[in-house]
């Protein structure tokens, strides 16, 4: 089915071909009859061999031969000579079949099946493999079979590693050899075999080995992925650590004592309609075991029940990078203006473990103060907001005043200082430095630019407490790659966006310059919310969420986003603008299902409903991926199945304002559906809901 020319090279003799087909049919028919009737005579078995030589893909013939072998083995009663002769015959048939098609699954499996009966010298098998690998070093059947034989022979990983070295020495352009090397090396390092205990030494050796593969032919991909793996092994933090949190260490937070419906807040006043105050823990990798035993929360008022920590991840395996819980704030019978000291102790008792099995070993403590405010006199009146409009003239640049020292303090303390980083391994920094210098010689080609960009980014990841360096250079490299390799433009654009966001969130000055007061004529500036505006940045992917846990109002309009994966960490988010982006479906908004405080959402001017293919269909919890239970569609309207994506995203939300105009999905019936789905809605597309 592959590689045959459309116009045959020689004129076709129709009659001869028809005769050939007729003959094959007759043979197959006879064979099937033998198989049905369980005839295993010498002639019958030979017929199957003849067929398999013509067509090794005839799987029923391999099954038939196994049945014949079983019967013959039973008859010869373990006479070693007979057994050998029977099994040898099978091996011969396999070899003939492989000559026809050395990618035949059936043939290779039959050989394994025969071998498992305890026959053939293994050295002979290795010899056969060498022959096959000489013909085609990329044949994965041969590599799989080699793994099978090596296991039977109990060959050491070290010996097999040497074999990959031999293959690589013969030809650097052998991805299969590099892959097998990565498997064996991972194993040797995992079991700390002698000679493989020093990560520094092992990686330095491997970097040297793969370097030649990358430099010899700049377009040959064989070494690219191996090199990327080495880089990951160099910078990957083995230990699970707490990277950031909400609240931030040392914060001073005011909470309204009464229900403040949409009453708004300055930086350090929070408006929760259900008086549930979130606590968010952001780790450097996915962990499990975060619960009220491993994280203790103590505050001046009693908590009614053990806190329930939830992993912010759309899976049920109980692990995530970000965990959250909610403190139920008691009623205002407590004194107002009293400050409560809250202490969150993470990992002082055992139990938090990374998904790779490493225990959390760096206990941290986060302390902050809570002030419960008595409701102001105006609370009896309607202190609701008007409709939020995301226009430039509704925002005033944030001027830090004496009333709010906390924003600056907060932005100073976004990243948790973990002691382990201060002893930043010098071997890692040294390797990154060496590799960067070496690859600067390759900057005129794609893989050179990409590798240097990655190395510089890796360097920053080794020093999370310091301001990232080389951002400008990295951004330039990605911009050059967009021009050099336009087929993969979006890959480089997404990476460019991530670095851009790292740069933007890297300093408090940069963040402050993007903080704005939302001006509403009904409220004084004291009560107006603070908005982080990351609009018009041309970003196509989001990141740096660990720096943004404090954000309540976020403007991401006029960008090129098609996903908001990771936004679920921003548990305080109550107003979000995603207008003028590239969102294609409601399934791309999965993260919103975790934002219980979201009140105002603008997804207008996107591409929802314009695409026949949904690229986030399976990254979304729905019956298609068996990630929701049986569903109650019967919410007194028919259209919920037509709009099932919107149904799942919005159904549990308490939105007061929603904008969806400018998407192909909008229609009268869709708007009717939305109004029924969201009883709390006050404005839909700028129009007041009845």
């Amino acid at each position: 089915m592959h590689g045959r020319p459309r116009k045959p090279l020689k004129p076709v003799d129709e009659a001869a071909v028809a005769a050939k087909a007729e003959k094959l049919r007759a043979l197959q028919s006879e064979f099937l009859s033998n198989h049905q009737n369980k005839i295993y005579s010498k002639e019958a078995v030979e017929l199957s061999a003849k067929l398999l030589e013509i067509n090794p893909e005839l799987y029923t013939a391999w099954n038939y031969r196994k049945l014949a072998v079983q019967q013959n083995l039973a008859q010869c009663e373990s006479d070693p000579e007979s057994v050998n002769s029977i099994l040898n015959e099978e091996l011969k048939v396999v070899e003939n079949a492989l000559r026809q098609n050395f990618k035949s699954y059936g043939a290779w499996h039959h050989r394994k099946w025969v071998l498992e009966k305890g026959h053939s010298s293994m050295d002979k098998e290795l010899g056969l493999l060498d022959k096959f690998q000489a013909m085609d070093a990329r044949n994965f059947h041969a590599w799989n079979y080699r793994r099978f034989v090596a296991a039977l022979m109990k060959r050491s990983d070290e010996d097999e590693l040497e074999h990959t070295q031999n293959m690589i020495d013969k030809n650097l352009s052998n991805y299969s050899a590099w892959h097998n090397r990565s498997v064996l090396l991972s194993n040797l390092m995992k079991k700390a075999a002698p000679g493989f205990t020093s990560k520094d030494e092992v990686l330095t050796r491997e970097y040297e080995l793969v370097r030649e593969a990358l430099f010899t032919d700049e377009d040959d991909q064989s070494g690219w992925f191996y090199h990327l793996w080495l880089l990951d092994q160099t910078v990957r933090s083995e230990f699970p650590l707490l990277v950031s949190s909400w609240p931030v260490e040392g914060s001073d937070i005011s909470l309204p004592a009464a229900d403040y419906l949409d009453g708004c807040a300055s930086m350090n006043v929070f408006h929760y309609s259900s008086r549930n105050f979130p606590l968010v823990l952001y780790f450097n990798q996915s962990v499990r075991g975060v619960n009220s035993s491993t994280v203790s929360v103590s505050c001046g008022f009693n908590l009614n029940a053990d806190l329930i920590w939830k992993p912010l991840s759309s899976n049920d395996s109980q692990s995530a990078k970000v965990w959250a819980t909610h403190l139920a704030i008691p009623d205002a019978e407590l004194h107002s203006s009293e400050a409560y000291q809250v202490e969150v102790k993470v990992g002082f008792s055992q139990g938090i473990v990374s998904t790779t099995g490493v225990a959390y070993g760096h206990p941290s403590q986060i302390s902050f103060q809570l002030h419960l405010q008595k409701a102001p006199v105006e609370s009896g009146q309607d202190s609701r907001f008007g409709r939020i409009q995301w226009k430039d003239d509704c925002f005033a640049v944030y001027e830090p005043g004496s009333a709010e020292p906390d924003l600056v303090n907060l932005l100073d303390n976004l990243t948790i200082k973990n002691e382990v980083e201060s002893t930043a391994s010098t071997w890692q920094a040294r390797i990154i430095d060496d590799e960067t210098n070496i690859f600067r010689d390759l900057l005129d080609c794609k893989i050179g630019k990409l590798t240097v960009a990655r190395l510089l980014t890796a360097y920053n990841s080794l020093r999370p407490l310091d301001k990232p360096v080389h951002c400008k250079e990295v951004l330039e490299l990605y911009s050059e790659l967009m021009k050099l390799d336009p087929s993969h433009y979006q890959y480089y654009k997404d990476n460019h966006s991530l670095v851009l966001l790292q740069q933007v969130t890297s300093s408090k000055e940069s963040l402050l310059s993007r903080c704005f007061h939302y001006r509403d004529s009904t409220l004084s500036t004291n009560g107006s919310p603070l908005c982080l505006r990351l609009n018009n940045l041309g970003i196509s992917q989001l990141g740096s969420f660990e720096k943004l846990l404090w954000v309540q109002m976020l403007d991401l309009s006029n960008n090129e986003l098609q996903s908001i994966e990771g936004l679920e960490a921003l548990q305080l988010l109550s107003q979000l603008c995603l207008s003028n982006n590239k969102f294609r479906s409601f399934t791309a908004l999965e993260s919103l299902r975790y934002l219980k405080s979201l009140k105002v959402l603008d997804i207008s001017q996107n591409e929802i409903g314009s695409h026949s293919i949904d690229t986030t269909r399976y990254l979304f919890r729905s019956p298609l991926s068996h990630s929701v239970g049986s569903c109650d569609w019967n919410i007194n309207y028919l259209s919920s199945k037509t709009y099932w994506e919107a149904f799942f995203v919005l159904k549990d939300m308490g939105l007061t304002q929603l904008d969806v105009a400018g998407n192909a999905i909008t229609s009268k019936s869709f708007n009717v559906f939305l109004e029924k789905l969201l009883p709390t809605l006050k404005w839909l597309d700028g129009v007041e809901v009845n």
């Binding site: 089915m1 592959h2 045959r4 020319p5 459309r6 028809a18 050939k20 087909a21 094959l24 049919r25 197959q28 099937l32 067509n55 893909e57 799987y59 029923t60 099954n63 196994k66 699954y105 499996h109 099946w113 990329r138 994965f140 590599w143 799989n144 352009s173 991805y175 097998n180 990565s182 498997v183 991972s186 040959d220 991909q221 064989s222 690219w224 992925f225 990327l228 793996w229 759309s314 899976n315 049920d316 395996s317 087929s487 993969h488 979006q490 890959y491 098609q562 791309a588 695409h611 026949s612 293919i613 690229t615 269909r617 990254l619 019956p623 298609l624 991926s625 068996h626 199945k641 099932w644």
Partner: protein, 313 residues
């Protein structure tokens, strides 16, 4: 650039379905069940499923079922999980899953799961992540996913994940686009895509696009239209399909058509076959080519067929 010669391809598929006397159909007789799935799904994607006699086909399918509950590639051949899925998929196309004894088929499939969570293709024990996908996809369509140990099945698939983010056929097996499709789709259906490093695998997959605009199946290999499915559906499921040039791929697929006689081949000017015709059209569907119905990247069936099964529309 050319256009999709949809009518020619429909004629080609209908002709192949009828031709039983040439050498090619003799050699491929044992996988006629797969051929039925490839041909009929293509017809449905081009809006022409009604051009065939569904009753005749269903009758033949049922003749291929064994007492074990599994389906063979053709009448008289042995049952295997490969053909069992194709049988289920074809019946789903015709909305005739009700002709099945669901319990019997699902028991056959579930019985092929091994202790370590992997699946064998049949009683002879070949293990491959392809079979994990087949079992999960087939049982999911039959709404019997709970008949297997899903956790173990997922764990086995994870054990086949490589450092490049891809997946192989067995633990330690090299990443290959076909295996990657099977593993990613199986994880998608079981709600386990969080085990995939989307950025890492996305880069590996997007680098399958070579200068000609076609996609290969692994590094330093030739492009082939069938990878327009294996690679593209994987990229679609992890939301990284925007990392390749869709225009260049469309061009490549269209260039692989035989616009005279119908059918699509693996590479321009090679011989056409049903296999590549299906994958070319399915690839165009994922690229939102006009006139082609949307295909579901995990179940490899038209979206309206999948939605009918899960949302009962």
């Amino acid at each position: 650039m050319g256009e999709l010669a949809a009518d020619k391809h429909v004629k080609y598929i209908l002709a192949v379905e009828k031709r039983k006397d040439n050498f090619e159909s003799a050699v491929l007789e044992h996988l006629r069940m797969n051929g039925a799935y490839w041909g009929l799904t293509t017809l449905d994607l081009l809006g022409k499923l009604d051009a065939v006699d569904s009753n005749e086909i269903i009758e033949w399918i049922l003749k291929c079922q064994h007492e074990s509950g599994g389906f063979a590639g053709n009448v008289g051949h042995d049952p295997h999980i490969l053909y069992t899925l194709s049988a289920i998929q074809v019946l789903a196309l015709f909305d005739k899953l009700n002709v099945l004894d669901v319990d019997k088929v699902s028991t056959y499939i579930a019985g092929l799961q091994n202790e370590d969570g992997s699946f064998s293709g049949d009683i002879w024990g070949e293990v491959d992540t392809r079979f994990s996908y087949i079992a999960i996809c087939g049982l999911s369509i039959l709404k019997c996913l709970d008949k297997i140990n899903v956790e173990r099945a997922v764990n086995y698939i994870i054990s086949c994940r490589n450092v490049d983010g891809g997946f192989g056929c067995t633990p330690g097996g090299e990443s290959h686009a076909g295996q990657i499709f099977c593993c990613v789709a199986a994880l998608a259906i079981t709600g386990a895509l969080h085990y995939v490093d989307k950025d890492l695998l996305g880069w590996w997959l997007c680098e399958r696009q070579v200068k000609s605009g076609g996609l290969n199946g692994r590094p330093e290999k030739l492009p082939d239209v069938c990878y327009s499915w294996w690679v593209l559906s994987s990229l679609t499921m992890i939301d990284r399909v925007h990392w390749i040039s869709k225009e260049k791929l469309i061009k490549f697929i269209l260039n692989c058509q035989d616009t005279e006689n119908g059918g699509i081949s693996d590479r321009p000017d090679d011989a056409v076959d049903i296999f590549h015709t299906y994958f070319g059209v399915a690839g165009l569907s994922l690229l939102e080519y006009p006139g082609v119905k949307a295909v579901d990247p995990a179940y490899a069936l038209p979206v309206d067929v999948v939605d009918r099964i899960f949302f009962g529309k």
